[in-house]
C-alpha cells in the first residue's frame, strides 16, 4: 500500500470539503493511504503571500515540508497553488545555502528541513502510481454522453523548467482522464487560459478575475458542455463560486456545474454524489439527471 502525507491547504478543507471527501474516498479505493499532516498551515499561497514576501513564503513552505519529512513520506495535494508553492519550495531548498537560511529560522521553533521531500499532485499519483489500467478496472459507471470542458489551470504545468511535466502549450492528461471515464472532452476556445483567480487577483482585483472566468465560461458554453472539470481546487472555487458571483451581478445567466477531477472519477467509480460532495458546490450538479444518476452503489 502506497502512503502519502496529505496536504490539505485552505480552500479544500475550509470551502470545498466535498473535494476532500471525494479525494479520500477515491484514494482509498486505489489503496493509497493518506496520512494527516498535523499542524500544517496554508502552503503559503504562491500568488498572494508569495507576492508579499517570498522569504516568508519559503520558510512557511519549508515548515510544511518538514512535517511530511518527519512522517517520512512524500506529499500529495489537490490544489495547483499548493503544488506551486510546495513543489517549488522543495526545488529551491535543494540548494544548501538557501536551506541553511531557512533552517536558521525554523530552528527557533525546533524544526528543520533536510531536503528531498517530493511533492506530487493528485493527478500525478493517479497517473503514475495508479496508472490507467487500474483506473479503467475501477470504472463501474461509464459517463457516456457527458460533455466536459477540461480546464488545466496554470501552476501544475508551469513554469515548465521546474515542473518538468513537458510542454504547457497543448497538455492532454486531463482530456485523457475524461475519456477514460467514458465522457467526452470538448474542445473550446482559449482552453489553456487562466481562470483569473491566481496571483492575488481574486483577492485584489476581483472584477478582473471574474472577467477571465466569464470569458472562459462563455467559451465553454459556446462549445456546448455539461460541466467543467479541473485538477485545481482554487480554479474549482473560481469557476463554482465565481459563476454565482457573476450571476448575482447579472453578467451570467446559465451556470455550468464544476467537478474536481477526483469527484468525476468517484462518480465513474460508482460512488454516490452525496458522498462526493457534488451537492455542496455552489452550482447544482444538473448533469446528474442527464446521466440518470441518483445514487451510488458504494
Amino acid at each position: 500500500m502506497k502512503k502519502y502525507a496529505f496536504f490539505l491547504g485552505c480552500i479544500m478543507p475550509l470551502r470545498y470539503p466535498g473535494i476532500e471527501a471525494a479525494t479520500r474516498l477515491v484514494m482509498n479505493e486505489f489503496q493509497i493511504d493518506l496520512l494527516e499532516m498535523n499542524g500544517a498551515t496554508c502552503c503559503p499561497a504562491p500568488g498572494v503571500l508569495g507576492s508579499f514576501d517570498l522569504e516568508n513564503w519559503l520558510v512557511i513552505g519549508a515548515r510544511n515540508l518538514s512535517i511530511a519529512e518527519q512522517l517520512g513520506l512524500d506529499i500529495t495535494l489537490t490544489c495547483n497553488g499548493c503544488y506551486a508553492s510546495l513543489q517549488e519550495a522543495s526545488v529551491i531548498l535543494n540548494d544548501k545555502e538557501r536551506r541553511g537560511r531557512v533552517n536558521a529560522l525554523l530552528e527557533k521553533v525546533k524544526r528543520s528541513y533536510g531536503g528531498g521531500t517530493q511533492v506530487k499532485h493528485v493527478v500525478e499519483v493517479l497517473d503514475k502510481d495508479v496508472g490507467s489500467e487500474t483506473l479503467k478496472n475501477h470504472i463501474t459507471r461509464q459517463l457516456k454522453g457527458l460533455r466536459v470542458a477540461a480546464h488545466y489551470g496554470c501552476h501544475y504545468l508551469k513554469p515548465t523548467k521546474i515542473r518538468a511535466h513537458g510542454s504547457s502549450e497543448r497538455p492532454v492528461f486531463l482530456d485523457d482522464l475524461v475519456s477514460l471515464v467514458g465522457a467526452e472532452s470538448v474542445p473550446y476556445k482559449d482552453k489553456n487560459i487562466c481562470c483569473g483567480a491566481g496571483g492575488g487577483v481574486r483577492s485584489g482585483e476581483p472584477l478582473v478575475a471574474l472577467d477571465f472566468t466569464l470569458e472562459k465560461v462563455q467559451n465553454m458554453t459556446a462549445a456546448g458542455v455539461d460541466c467543467i472539470v479541473t485538477p485545481c481546487v482554487f480554479c474549482h472555487l473560481q469557476f463554482d463560486l465565481g459563476q454565482t458571483e457573476l450571476r448575482d451581478k447579472g453578467r451570467l445567466k446559465e451556470r455550468v456545474p464544476v467537478l474536481y477531477i477526483t469527484q468525476l472519477l468517484g462518480l465513474a467509480m460508482g460512488l454516490s454524489p452525496e458522498k462526493l460532495g457534488l451537492y455542496d458546490n455552489s452550482v447544482p450538479p444538473a448533469y446528474l439527471e442527464r446521466l440518470g444518476i441518483t445514487g451510488g452503489n458504494k
Binding site: 510542454s167 502549450e169 497543448r170 474542445p187 476556445k189 482559449d190
Partner: protein
C-alpha cells in the same frame, strides 16, 4: 647539458602584456637562470625588428634554444619557428610561454601576482627547452583531387571552381539529385530572379564537366588519412534503376500506380514510387522508393519494368561501395529547416493554414503542387490576408539563439509575391527587428514597404484557429503603440529558422570536426580562417557553417575551393614533426595504445618473435594519448617527453 645556450624574449604586446605584467622584472629574473645567455623585453616580438633581433642573437650569441614569452602559440609559433630556421636553428628548439591569454588578460586586476605567474611560466619554458631536440617536418605528396560533400548551391560552386582549375572532383550528394534548397525556391531575393533559371545551368555544368564525377544518392561512410592523402568510402544507394541505361523519359513514373507525398514539395504534392524529385534533376535518373514500391512490398506490379523501353529497371540492384582518394575535402551539406511544431503556440502541423516559409516557396512556384497558385491548404481558396510571423525558432533561447539571417528577406520576398498575385490582399509582417543587411536588401525592404505591406513590430504571442472557417487569429502586441490586439488572417506563414543538418554529428565523427555552440560546423578562426576547419585539408562551404543566403553561400563556397586548391596545387604538404615513437624493447605488446589512438596511427608489428607497437608517422597527429596510456612507458612523445614535462612542473612550483 652544460652547452645549452638559451635566449629569452619577453614581449610587451603593446600594453596587452606590459600593461599588467612587469616585463622588465620578468627579464631580470629569468636572466639569472642557469643556461640563460640573455633575456630581453621588447614592444612587439612578432614585428620585423623583433624577429630580426632574435635572428641576430642566434647568430652572434650562438643561441641554441629560443624562448618567446608572448601570446598563444596558435598564432605566432609558426612566425618564430620560421625566424629561427632562417638563422640556422632547428625550429623545434623554439619554445613559447603564453603570458598573454593565460596570464595578463586573465589577471588584469592583479599586476603583482600576474608578474609572479609570468616568471613561473617563462621559467617553466626555459626548463623544458633543455630537453627539446631538433625534429624534422615531414613532406608528403598530395593527391590532386577533391571530395565535395553536399550538392546544394555551395557544393556545386566549390566543385565547379576546383574542376575549372583542373583538379578532379568527386561530388557526393545524399539525395537523388543535386540542387539542395535552392532548387525548392521560387524567386530569389533581392533581385527576384527565378531560382531554377540561375541554378539549372550550374547543375548542368556539373553533369557535363569532364573533371567532375557526380555520386548522387550516395553517402560518405568513412574517411581515413590526412591532408593530401584522404581515403573516403562512399556508399552508392541502389536506385533499382541502371543509371547507365535510364534516359530519364519518365514513362515508368507515368505508369507507376503508387502516389506518395513528395519530399521535394514538403508533402504538399505527390510523386510516384519511381520518381525524380523535380523535372530539372541532375542526374536525370529515376529512383525507386523501396518503402512504397508495390514490388518490394507485395511482390506485384512491375509496371515500370514492363514499360521501360531501355530496360533500365533493376530490382536486384545492390548497394555499391566506392573508394576515393583525395587530397582535400569540402563540406557543403547545408541546413535543415527548424520544425515549427516545437512552437506549439503557433499551431503548425495542427492548423492547416499555418505553413512555413519553404512550403510557401513550393506553393508559389509554377512547377509546384498548385502550379504557382498560392491557395489555402484548408479549402483551396485564394487568401485575402496573409501574416508573416518572423523569428520562429531563431533568436529564441528556447530554440536557437542565433539569427537565421535569411528569413527577414525571405518573408519580404514572399510578401511582395502575394502583393503581386493578389494586389488587394492584406499582408502583414510581424517582426522583432527587420534584418536587411546585404547589398540591395534595405532597398528591397523599402520597395516592399511602398507596395503597402504592413510592418508590425511585435513577436506573435499565439495563433488560434477559428474551427468553422479555419481562419487564423493572431494575438500580438504592437510594441510601437503598446497596444494589445487580435487580428484575423486567411493564411499565416511562419518564417522558420535554419538549423544544422540532422545528421551533422555523423559527419562530424567521420571527420573529427568541431561544431560551434549553434551546432553548425566550426571554422578554424571566425575572422581569419573562415572556411578552414580544425582538420587540415577539410574546408567548409555554404550553410553547413552557419545560416547563409545564396550570395554568402556562393562566396564562401568559392573561398573554400580556393583554400582547398592550395595543397592540391602545391603537390606536397608538410606535416608536423611532433609525433610519437616506440621503444620496441620495452613494449609488452598490450595494444592499449592501439585502442586509444583516435587517428588509427598505431599498428602492431612483429619484432624478433613478439608483437610490438609501431607508429604510422603520417597518421600521427602528436596528440600524446598513447604515451600517457602506455603502462610500460615505451612510447615517447617527441617534444613532450616525461622528463621535459616534469622539469616544467618543477620549475613552476619552485617559487
Amino acid at each position: 647539458m652544460a652547452d645549452e645556450r638559451i635566449g629569452v624574449y619577453i614581449c610587451h604586446c603593446g600594453t596587452n602584456i606590459a600593461g599588467t605584467v612587469d616585463v622588465e622584472k620578468v627579464a631580470q629574473r629569468i636572466a639569472g637562470l642557469p643556461n640563460v645567455v640573455l633575456a630581453k623585453d621588447y614592444k612587439y616580438m612578432c614585428s620585423e625588428p623583433g624577429q630580426a633581433m632574435i635572428k641576430q642573437d642566434i647568430r652572434d650569441r650562438k643561441l641554441n634554444r629560443v624562448i618567446v614569452a608572448s601570446c598563444s602559440p596558435r598564432m605566432h609559433e609558426p612566425t618564430f619557428r620560421k625566424a629561427a630556421q632562417e638563422a640556422g636553428l632547428n625550429p623545434y628548439l623554439v619554445e613559447m610561454a603564453n603570458i598573454r591569454e593565460q596570464c595578463s588578460w586573465v589577471h588584469m586586476k592583479e599586476p603583482e601576482k600576474a608578474t609572479v605567474k609570468a616568471i613561473a611560466l617563462v621559467a617553466a619554458a626555459v626548463a623544458k627547452s633543455v630537453f627539446d631536440e631538433p625534429l624534422q617536418m615531414r613532406e608528403v605528396p598530395v593527391t590532386p583531387a577533391a571530395l565535395v560533400i553536399g550538392g546544394g548551391i555551395a557544393g556545386i560552386q566549390s566543385s565547379l571552381d576546383l574542376a575549372d582549375q583542373g583538379f578532379k572532383v568527386h561530388l557526393v550528394e545524399k539525395t537523388p539529385s543535386i540542387g539542395g534548397h535552392m532548387a525548392q525556391l521560387d524567386k530569389t531575393f533581392p533581385t527576384l530572379d527565378c531560382s531554377a533559371c540561375i541554378l539549372t545551368p550550374k547543375m548542368v555544368d556539373i553533369s557535363r564537366h569532364p573533371n567532375i564525377s557526380l555520386l548522387a544518392y550516395s553517402e560518405v561512410k568513412a574517411i581515413d588519412g590526412y591532408i593530401g592523402n584522404f581515403k573516403a568510402r562512399v556508399l552508392k544507394k541502389p536506385r533499382y534503376v541502371d543509371e547507365s541505361k535510364c534516359t530519364g523519359c519518365g514513362l515508368c513514373a507515368e505508369k507507376c500506380p503508387v502516389n506518395v507525398p513528395s519530399e521535394f514539395d514538403l508533402g504538399l504534392g505527390t510523386r510516384k514510387a519511381i520518381y525524380v524529385p523535380f523535372p530539372q534533376a541532375v542526374p536525370l535518373r529515376y529512383t525507386i522508393d523501396r518503402e512504397n514500391c508495390l514490388y518490394f512490398k507485395k511482390n506485384i506490379c512491375r509496371a515500370c519494368e514492363k514499360f521501360c523501353t531501355s530496360g533500365a529497371i533493376d530490382f536486384g540492384q545492390l548497394p555499391a561501395e566506392v573508394e576515393l582518394e583525395v587530397g582535400a575535402i569540402i563540406i557543403a551539406t547545408g541546413y535543415d529547416l527548424y520544425d515549427a511544431g516545437h512552437k506549439a503556440e503557433y499551431g503548425y502541423g495542427i492548423y492547416r493554414n499555418v505553413i512555413n516559409g519553404l512550403e510557401f516557396e513550393r506553393l508559389v512556384n509554377a512547377s509546384g503542387p498548385t502550379s504557382g497558385k498560392v491557395l489555402r491548404p484548408s479549402d483551396g481558396k485564394a487568401p485575402r490576408s496573409v501574416a508573416f510571423v518572423q523569428c520562429v525558432g531563431s533568436r529564441d533561447k528556447n530554440a536557437n539563439l542565433y539569427c537565421s539571417r535569411v528569413c527577414c528577406m525571405a518573408s519580404l520576398k514572399q510578401a511582395h509575391q502575394i502583393k503581386e498575385k493578389f494586389p488587394g490582399a492584406e499582408v502583414s509582417i510581424f517582426y522583432i527587428d527587420m534584418r536587411c543587411f546585404g547589398k540591395g536588401y534595405e532597398e528591397f525592404y523599402e520597395r516592399v514597404q511602398q507596395e503597402g505591406v504592413r510592418f508590425i513590430r511585435g513577436r506573435v504571442g499565439e495563433i488560434l484557429e477559428n474551427p468553422d472557417d479555419k481562419n487564423l487569429v493572431l494575438r500580438f502586441e504592437d510594441t510601437l503603440l503598446g497596444e494589445v490586439a487580435e487580428r484575423e488572417f486567411d493564411l499565416a506563414v511562419l518564417a522558420t529558422g535554419v538549423i544544422p543538418r540532422a545528421d551533422t554529428s555523423e559527419l562530424q565523427s567521420i571527420l573529427k570536426l568541431s561544431r560551434g555552440p549553434d551546432g553548425f560546423f566550426l571554422e578554424a578562426h571566425p575572422k581569419l580562417r573562415p572556411v578552414e576547419t580544425n582538420i587540415d585539408g577539410v574546408f567548409l562551404g555554404g550553410a553547413a557553417q552557419g545560416p547563409k543566403d545564396i550570395p554568402d553561400a556562393v562566396a564562401q563556397a568559392g573561398a573554400a575551393a580556393s583554400r582547398a586548391a592550395v595543397p592540391l596545387s602545391m603537390g606536397k604538404v608538410e606535416l608536423e614533426g611532433i609525433i610519437a615513437s616506440v621503444d620496441e624493447d620495452l613494449c609488452s605488446g598490450c595494444r592499449i595504445c592501439e585502442s586509444v589512438c583516435e587517428y588509427g596511427a598505431i599498428k602492431m608489428k612483429e619484432k624478433s618473435g613478439k608483437q610490438v607497437s609501431s607508429v604510422i608517422e603520417v597518421l600521427c597527429k602528436g596528440c600524446g594519448v598513447c604515451g600517457s596510456a602506455c603502462p610500460t612507458k615505451s612510447i615517447k612523445m617527441c617534444h613532450f617527453t616525461d622528463d621535459a614535462i616534469l622539469a616544467q612542473v618543477k620549475a613552476v612550483l619552485r617559487d
